[in-house]
Symmetry: C2
Subunit: 358 residues, 2 copies
DNA sequence: TTGTACGCGTTATCAA
DNA sequence: TTGATAACGCGTACAA
């Protein structure tokens, strides 16, 4: 009987298998094990019997190589930067790909040409940014972009000291570099546009979970409507962020008999769902209800009618964030830097109401 | 004189800066440098002067910590698996997030609970999968999912021997595990559906760059139309994959006076653009032109009219790929395994033509 | 207030 | 055909 059984034991306290342990168990040297596991046994002329034994033991023990050790040993490792995109499980994922795309685009540009890098995606439960290990002490990455934090996460950030450069997206915390837009401003503009389209019974559609960005838009919108002296806007709350969520929330709202002639959707995806609910209720856009979204998703201009919205600042935001992070890493930027991205309205047909000829 | 780390020195032969070199240059010990760089100088009671010197030297030299060494040293490192998602720059990025999402979802499920992992995103120029270093020899990751390969990449794969488990998405190569659907079948079904909707002047819309999946759909479609004895379908080729590309290609096609009463779009995103071009040309969907897409993007059912398409197998594909990879890593799966994901039509209004009452 | 030495898991070199 | 050992860069216990 072989004592490999130990290793397959689900007891999580046991150390992961290493080449050394494997070698000891088999009574051979680490060099032998290593060469077999790396297909170098031919050139090293290991006996077939040993090869078999090693392979079997490795498989039985569930051996997996330690990548950090391999990289360290390989030497090339020291030239690799590990850059992390940190986001919450609850956030819409396509936004992550905006950062990844920006990383890969920029890393090939001139000043960063000879940086070798790995992009890692780390995720945390919304509100529990403190959980993922190795972030603070820099044992996971050389630098990180952190997005989609909630208030608790921001508090954690404000209280933490990092040993690696960090760039925040969508919020501003003292001593951190950050990139964001002015969400309150966006909300205010949305209100102005709807009011300017002669809408007076306004409503705002947003997801249950609010970040600093979406919360800011909501706040700016409500505030502006009030200050205009108009009726306080109705609030339509969806479960999640996608089209279906928007559809359901809007449908429920209309079924309850609420009236609306101007709708601000905190995200374009929700507006897509709202479109359908409105149409199903026989309401015409923009004649009966003017609609404006946020984000300028690619589909916005292909909706029927084309959706008014605000520029897709996400792309710029992520790109600027990557630029900041690389700036910090290369020493070109030395102090915390805040970047503000303007958000501009893109007016299409969905808000052309009461203003023929626009 | 100062030397600049990784970046500023164009001479790529110089080694990156380490704390050892830093310490030597300053005439202090590595422990001192390390403690300063990790904010432990207070507890270690390093003199302010030394702290200042170390910080300045580190900044001047462009010192960046070696993450592999840190992870190795931290011990926790040995429990981390590095899992890579490998895709091409030219592929649509949201697909990447499908894999990442699947990883993060599954890694928290029961059998994998105590696996700690890092998700790395590696990208290559389409057709040059051989370029990114460290993939083959397993010095970058413990396992990888590879998607969006072109023919050249597939040839490279067929000829390579890997030291880590690999799962391919969308193609099938001997000795590899893979997950895919049957694209030819999808194309054939699309043809049947359009022909069944009494369309006879068919066209197919696809991007210039074809993968095994998109090429398969195209082939299956054309073949089926021919075998039915109908006129050979017109081919509409777009530059890229997004809505605008679809719009432009379709618009050009219609401007040249081509007639069409049934359109198969290889991807839903292209169909979104085609919708607008068709409407702008005064063509009604589905009365004048039946349309069917592929992918069941979330917006498909919110288009006007709702778009017929094929199930969004991407999600299942990526999830199954992750499952396979984890299976290989944990030793539960020992031999190359091929998984086929069925692709089912989702019939909505855009193909309800000539069949009132459907 | 600072320095020395060890070990993390690998692979390559040299020796046997 | 195989084994012992150095080295990769880092952080820290222990020593001074």
């Amino acid at each position: 009987m072989r004592f490999w059984g130990i290793l397959a034991m689900p007891d999580s306290s046991d150390k992961p298998m290493t080449i050394t342990a494997l070698a000891k168990g088999l009574g051979v040297s680490v060099a032998t094990v290593s060469s077999v596991l790396n297909h170098r046994h031919v050139q090293r002329r290991i006996s077939p019997e040993t090869v078999r034994k090693v392979r079997q033991a490795a498989a039985a023990a569930g051996y997996l190589p330690n990548i950090s050790a391999r990289r360290l040993r390989s030497g090339a490792a020291s030239r690799y930067l590990v850059l992390a995109v940190v986001t919450s499980y609850q956030a819409p994922l396509p936004l992550v790909s905006a950062s990844i795309a920006a990383f890969h685009r920029l890393i090939h540009e001139e000043p960063y040409r000879d940086i070798q890098s790995t992009i890692a995606v780390e995720m945390f439960e919304a509100g529990r940014l403190a959980d993922p290990p190795g972030l603070l002490d820099g044992s996971r990455c050389n630098g990180a972009i952190i997005a989609n934090t909630l208030a608790q996460d921001d508090a954690f950030l404000a209280a933490s000291q990092w040993s690696i450069p960090i760039v925040l997206i969508g919020r501003d915390i003292p001593n951190y570099s950050s990139v964001r837009d002015l969400p309150e401003k966006t909300g205010q503009q949305a209100a102005e546009i709807l009011l300017g389209a002669d809408s007076r019974r306004l409503a705002v559609l947003h997801a249950k979970m609010l970040t600093q960005a979406t919360g800011g838009r909501l706040g700016g919108f409500v505030e502006k409507v009030k200050s205009f002296g108009a009726e306080e806007p109705a609030t339509i709350i969806s479960e999640g962020f996608d089209e279906r969520d928007g559809y359901r929330a809007m449908q429920r709202f209309l079924e309850q008999g609420y009236q609306v002639d101007g709708l601000y959707s905190i995200m374009d995806s929700l507006a897509v769902g709202a479109y359908r609910a409105l149409k199903e209720h026989g309401l015409r856009i923009p004649e009966d209800v003017a609609v404006i979204g946020t984000g300028d998703y690619p589909i916005a201009s292909y909706l029927d009618p084309p959706l008014s919205t605000f520029t897709r600042s996400q792309y710029n935001i992520h790109e600027e964030a990557v630029r900041l992070l690389l700036g910090h890493l290369t020493g070109k930027i030395k102090t915390p830097t805040q970047v503000l991205i303007p958000v501009l309205p893109v007016l299409r047909q969905s808000t052309q109401r009461g203003r023929p000829g626009w």
